[in-house]
C-alpha cells in the first residue's frame, strides 16, 4: 500500500519546506550553539524527508540509501560538533556564538 496515494506528494513537499525554513530560521535567530545544531539537524531531516518521499514516489530505493548515508554522517558530525562545543564551553564558559570571533579578519 502506498501512503502517497492517500496523502499526496505535494504535502510532503510543503512539510519539508516548512521544516527546512524552521531550521534555517532557528539557525539565524538563535545564538546558542546547541540550538543551532538542532536547527541544522531539522534542516537535514527536512531534506531526508524529501529524499524518502521522492524515493517512494519514483519507486527508486536509491533515495532511501542516501538517507541512511546522511543520517550516518550527521550522527558523526554531531559527535564531533558536540565535542567541539564541549571544549568551547570548557574554555570560555558558555556556548554563545557571539563570543566566538577569533576568525575576525
Amino acid at each position: 500500500m502506498n501512503i502517497l496515494e492517500h496523502v499526496g506528494i505535494e504535502n510532503y513537499l510543503t512539510l519539508s519546506a516548512l521544516l527546512f525554513c524552521i531550521g534555517a530560521f532557528g539557525l539565524l535567530y538563535r545564538r546558542n550553539a546547541i540550538i543551532m545544531f538542532m536547527s541544522i539537524e531539522i534542516m537535514l531531516n527536512a531534506v531526508n524527508l524529501l529524499l524518502v518521499a521522492f524515493s517512494s514516489y519514483h519507486e527508486d530505493p536509491s533515495g532511501q540509501v542516501f538517507v541512511f548515508f546522511t543520517m550516518a554522517v550527521a550522527a558523526a558530525e554531531v559527535a564531533v560538533g558536540l565535542a567541539i562545543l564541549v571544549s568551547v564551553f570548557r574554555n570560555i564558559g558558555n556556548i554563545d556564538i557571539d563570543n566566538l570571533k577569533n576568525l575576525k579578519g
Binding site: 534555517a24 539557525l27 539565524l28 545564538r31 556564538i97 557571539d98 566566538l100 570571533k101 577569533n102 576568525l103 575576525k104 579578519g105
Partner: protein, 625 residues
Amino acid sequence: MNTTILLLLFAPLAGFLITLFFGKKLGKTVSGAIGTAAVAISFLCTLSLFSQINAGETIATFKLADWFSIGNIKINFSFLFDQLSVLWLLFVTGIGSLIHLYSISYMHEDENMHKFFSYLNLFVFFMIALVAGSNLLIMFIGWEGVGLCSYLLIGFWYKNQDYNDAAKKAFIMNRIGDLGFLIGIFILGFHFQTLEFLEIKALLGKDLITPSLLSIAALCLFIGACGKSAQLPLATWLPDAMAGPTPVSALIHAATMVTAGIFMITRMNFLFDLTPEIQNVIAIVGAITAIVAASIGLVQNDIKKVLAYSTVSQLGLMFLALGLGAYEVAVFHVITHAFFKACLFLGSGSVIHALHGEQDMRNMGGLRKVMPITFWTMMISTLAISGIFPFSGFWSKDEILMTAFHANIPLWVIGSIASIMTAFYMFRLMYLTFFNDFRGTEEQKHHLHESPALITIPLVILAALAAIGGAISLPGNSWLNHYLAPLFKKHEAHHLDGQAYMLMAIATVGALVGIGIAYAKYLKKKEIPVADSEVQGLHKVLSDKYYLDEIYMATIVKPIYMISNFAKKYVEKFISKAVIGLGGATYALSIKGKKIQNGNIGVYLFAFIFGMVGFLVYVFVIRVK
C-alpha cells in the same frame, strides 16, 4: 694605381694611430713630423692620381671591402676617384700638409701636441673618405667623422668649459643637418635600391621616383649641407668654433670641412639639376647667409671672428652659385677661398702667436713693421678675398656675380653688397691689426716678433696660391671648366662681352668703395672700435649677431630643458604614481574587504543562507523566465 689609392687613404689613418699611441714617447717634434708626413704622402698620391686623370685616363672606382647589406641594398667600402674628388683631395691634402707643417711650430708649446696631430690626421682621413667615397654612406662616414674631429679639435683645450660648449654646439648643430642628410639617403636608397653615386645618376632618368619626393630628397640633402657648411639657419656654430687652435680654424673651419656641403651638392649635381625649386632655395639661402654673415662681420673685433663670419659669408656665395647651377664656379671659389682663407687664418694665427694669445683687434695695431712676412701674405690674401684684380678671388667671385647677374638681378645685388662689405671688413681688419701704433701692453710690445720659418713658409706658399690661383679658371679660357666638364650637364658659357667687362668693373669699383671707407675710418681717422658695453643701435644688433643665438636659446634649447624638467618632475611622477596606485588600490581594497570577515558566525550564516536563496531564485525563477 691600387697601391697609390691605399696609401692615399690610409697614410693619415696610420699617422693618427701612431701619433695617438706613441706620440708621447716619440716627442713633440717627431710626432709632428709623422703627422705632417702622413698627410704629405696622401698629397703626393693625390698628385699622381691627378696627373693620370688630367691626362685623360679613365676614372677609377676602388672597392676596398664589403660593409653591410640592408634589404637588397649592398653597401661597400668603395671609393670613386674622378675629376671632382681628385681635385678636391688635391687641395684638402695640399693645404692640409701646409697647415700640419705650420702646426709643428704653432702648437709647440702645447703639452698635448701629439694629440693635436693625431686628431688632425684623423680629420684628414675622414675628409678623404668624405670626398672619395663612392656612395652616400661612405660619404656619411666621412661627414660624421669630420664632425667628430671638429668636436675634438674645437674642444682641444678642454679645461675651458666655454670651449667645450662651442665644441658641443658645433657637433649638435651638425647633427641636425646630419639627420636631414640621413633622411635624404633613405629616400634615395629606398627608391633606387642603391647608394652609389654613379648608379643613382644612371637610374635618375628611369622614373623610379616622383618629382616631389625627389625634391624632398634634395631638400634633405641640402639641410645636411647647411649644417656642415654653416648656412642659415644652422650657421651659428661656426663663429663659436673659433675656440679651437688657429690651425684648426684654418684647415677645418675655413678651407676644407665647411666646404663639404658644397662638395656634396656638387657631387649630387645630377639630382639638384632635376629639382629647380630646391635650387632656388639653395640660391636664396646662400644669398641671405652671405649678406647676413657679412653684415655681422662688419663690427666684430675678434680677429678670428671676423674671419669666421667672412667664411660663412663666402660659403653663402658658393651656395648662391650652386643654386644657380654653376657648379664649376662654386668649385672654383671653393679652391681660391681655400687658398686665401687658409692664409688669412694662418696669418691671424701668426699674429696671435706673436701677441701671446691676444685676439682682440682693439689691442693690436702697427704690426706691419715687426711682422713683414705675415703682413704681406695677409695683404695679398685680403686683396684676393676683396676681389681686386688680378688676385684669385677676383676671378672666382666675379664669376659668381656674373652668373647671378644673368640669372636673377636681386641675387646679384645681394651678392655684390656682400662683396663690398667683405672688402670693408677685411681692410678694417688689416688696418686695425697692422697699421698705426701698437695698442697692446708694454710687455706684449717687448716680445713682438716675426714668426719662425715653419709658420711663414706655409703663409708664403698660400699667399702665392691666393695671388695666382685664379689662373685655373680665367674667363673665356677656363682649364677648370674643361676639366670638370664631364661631370656636369652642359650649359653655355658666358661670353666675354662688353657686359662682362662692365660687371667686372662694377665689382672692382664696389670693392674699392669698401676699401675706401675702411681706409677713411681706420687709417685716416685712426678710429678704434668702441668697447662692447658702449655699442648701441644697429651696431649692437650686428655685434650681437642679430640675436640668433639668443633666439635659438629661447625657442629651442630652453623649451627642451623645460619639457625635460616638466617630464622629470611631473610626468614621471604621474606615471609612477599610477603604477604604484594600482598596487595601492589592491591594498586599500584588502583593508576594506577584511571588515566583512568580522568573525560573527551569525552574519556568516545569514550571508550564506541569503546568498543561497538568492542563487536559487536566480537559477529557478529569473533564469527560467
